[in-house]
């Protein structure tokens, strides 16, 4: 049996919604034992949101929650009760990593901040993922994904060249923070192996997202000027954009990077007269005349489907591909060959189709280790087997709404 890369690592996931949970799901895919700590007192919003299987609501029937929390064990623990906090500490004491993405004051108020956790496990690695960071004037700002897209500068750089800032169909600052956290956790684990030291990793989702916008930030840092919104255009590449194709709302993305690619491109599209001659012969000419060029390119693409365009241009060595909608993506032959979507059997979802791990390692491959847990499903494993609490005691704690 192939080993898993993170065998033997245990992670306690106090997170909610996406940032913490996506981070720990990534680690779970690589073999870490991840225990998701939830509570009936405050059920994760994703469990309370559809889509549900067959449109029938239920905490165990949320498609989004079950995709994001695959690979994990699940227990319930009421952190509003002192006994609940004690049990949380006992769980941390047997773990390597703890992850949380509450608002900054919450863990401290609960008595579960880094100094408190160090007392139960000196080398614990605690990861906090607040939206705006744990310190600073805006630390208590409410941060949804869309508000972070706005605050981090992403919306200001997104939009058509002649228009206002625009937001994105899905927000990603929490995902950036989650991936940054996963890296930081592994770095901290490396350090711990070398020195025995744990540490506190604090990630501001806002700052983690800003790290992905150096063009705009350095433009201002160097030159005090804003970087304009560019839509699908590029600093210098042309043709570079999204072009209409045959069919209803069908588009193809094309990016011609060099003069060689331009030669290949114009031959691939049948050497039309407009493409010969000096006007578009070099990169500067193409960029300067890109709007005319775009119209001419679109005259060609709109007679073809996105796949047809991709095939012709990729064969010529030019970057091109459809702006896939979700149906096309899921059914695309490359996506299928790569097994990007896999089927996972779940007691309340039936066969669920979930994205597979993005980290592909040749020797210790990632995989979905188990399906997502039902609410409180592993209470007996976690409290009984791992912490050695008797069935009778667990029953009492359930009655007192500690294991709840």
């Amino acid at each position: 049996m192939t080993k898993s890369a993170l065998e033997g690592i245990r992670v306690i996931d106090f997170g909610h919604v996406w940032a913490g949970p996506y981070c720990t799901a990534t680690l779970a895919d690589m073999g870490a034992e991840v225990i998701r700590v939830e509570s009936k007192r405050h059920i994760d919003i994703h469990r309370r949101q559809g889509p549900y299987l067959n449109d029938k609501p239920g905490f165990n029937r949320s498609a989004v929650w079950n995709a994001q929390n695959r690979g994990k064990f699940g227990c319930t623990l009421n952190l509003a009760k002192p006994d609940g906090v004690e049990l949380a500490k006992r769980l941390v004491a047997i773990s390597d990593v703890a992850v949380e993405n509450f608002a900054p004051r919450v863990m401290k108020k609960l008595g579960l901040d880094y100094p408190a956790l160090r007392e139960v496990k000196e080398d614990i690695i605690l990861v906090s993922l607040p939206g705006f960071g744990s310190t600073g004037p805006a630390k208590d700002y409410i941060s949804y994904g869309q508000s972070l897209l706005a605050a981090s500068g992403i919306a200001a750089t997104t939009g058509y060249p002649d228009g206002p800032p625009m937001s994105l169909g899905e927000s990603y600052p929490d995902l950036v923070a989650a991936l940054s956290a996963a890296f930081a956790i592994l770095a901290a684990l490396h350090h711990r192996t070398e020195t025995g030291q744990g540490q506190h990793i604090d990630i501001s989702q806002l700052e983690a997202s800003m790290c992905l916008l150096p063009e705009a930030l350095m433009e201002f840092s160097m030159n005090d000027t804003p970087r304009p919104r560019m839509g699908n255009e590029d600093d210098i590449m042309a043709p570079h954009g999204c072009y209409r194709c045959k069919g209803d709302d069908k588009w193809v993305a094309i990016a011609v990077a060099t003069d060689e690619e331009w030669q290949a491109f114009r031959h691939a599209i049948g050497n039309p007269d407009w493409a010969k001659g000096e006007r578009f012969a070099d990169g500067f000419g193409r960029w300067s005349n890109q709007h005319d060029l775009d119209r001419l390119v679109e005259d060609w693409t709109k007679e073809r489907t996105p796949y047809e365009v991709m095939e012709v241009l990729q064969k010529a060595g030019v970057a091109a591909g459809p702006s896939f909608n979700i149906e096309e993506l899921v059914n695309d032959p490359h996506i299928k060959k790569r097994e990007v979507f896999v089927e996972v059997e779940h007691p309340e979802m039936g066969k669920q189709i979930i994205y597979s791990p993005t980290w592909r390692l040749s020797g210790t491959p990632g995989r979905i280790q188990r399906r997502a847990p039902l609410l409180g499903e592993h209470n007996h494993y976690v409290f009984g087997e791992l912490l050695g609490i008797s069935d009778k005691e667990i029953a009492r704690l359930e009655q007192e709404e500690v294991i709840y």
């Binding site: 058509y160 899905e170 999204c242 149906e327 990007v340």
Partner: protein, 405 residues
Amino acid sequence: MEKEALSGIRVLEYAQLVAGPYCAKMFADLGAEVIKIEQPGVGDQARHLEPFLNEIPHPERSGLFLYLNTNKKGITLNLETVTGVNLFKELIEISDIFIETPPPRQLEELGLGYNVLKEVNPKLVMVSISPFGQTGPYKDYRTSDLVSFHMSGFGYLNPRGATDANRPPLKAGGRLADFFAALNAAGAALCALHARRLTGLGQHVDISRQECIIPMLRRPLTAYFYRDRQISSRLTRSWRIAPNDLMPCKDGYVFVSAVEEGQWQRFVELMGNPDWAKDPRFQNRISRTENWEVLEPLITAWLMKHTKEEISRTAQANRVPISPVNTAGDLFKSRHLNTRGFFVEIDHPEAGKLKYPGAPYRLSQTPWRLKRRAPLLGEYNEEVYCDLLGHSKRELVKMREAGVI
């Protein structure tokens, strides 16, 4: 010298632009030794991309390059020469991680695929970031950030709340697909290094730019599988509950979110309890959503009288989730970010003192650190080829003259 989180790890980078370099930067900024290979003479393509200092193109003054290559030791090497390949193998022998992002098949064609390199160093973790992965019908396809972004399915969803079907789906600002690939590659590489403790061996890490964006599509994916093959697009409005949108204000834009009843009440108070708020059409979230066309200009009128800073500060103080749409300038001037010391200054012989975005994370024991500015082209040739690999300075001169380095 204080130990850093990744002290003792050596990373070799053969990459240009964003994906490979940002991945390697993540290692460098936490203390790994990162040796970056650049083409002699021309160097990394990013050196020739804007923004340039004072808008004057110069290979040592590209903001993008300067940011992406902090803490690295830059060397030049021409892998099209036999001597170059041998030098490369010497570097592979002593490296823990090798990050590469040339066009697919390029390294294999040079005789430097994973099968060869793992014989040179069985403990090597080789990380290949490619457009579509090492396998599958598109494995040799070309891409750019734009194409990866659209082929991942994300493009089709943007911009949020689009109303004009004649305008194409939109890429996010910046080079998002490249950065996402880098983030995934870095974690996966470190994971493989961790596995090496268990197995004693390295391995090949396969990261596809297209795949790295896909987990982001959680709602469109679930809507497709569980809402009768529903296809989401930039024009879909089924998720809409108002107000939950970008809106203009006096000096720019804000993101207004006041969807829950309590939030809406507090927002109305913030706006001074205007009479129009008593209109029966605005009494619950459903009717506010249905009547958004009427409601929107009323809110906008109030917003246009106030700055984004004022609106978001007072709103947040009253637990109304409004955020400014920050420009780069706003971010540099942000009291919040400056109090936290997010921006770091570093000096550079050609670019001078500049402020850079700083740490994406804070580690309490082994902090992120900007020790070294980005390298000048070939700056570390002597240190790496002579001090580290043991070649003589004379050899270095000859290799330069022969176009090997």
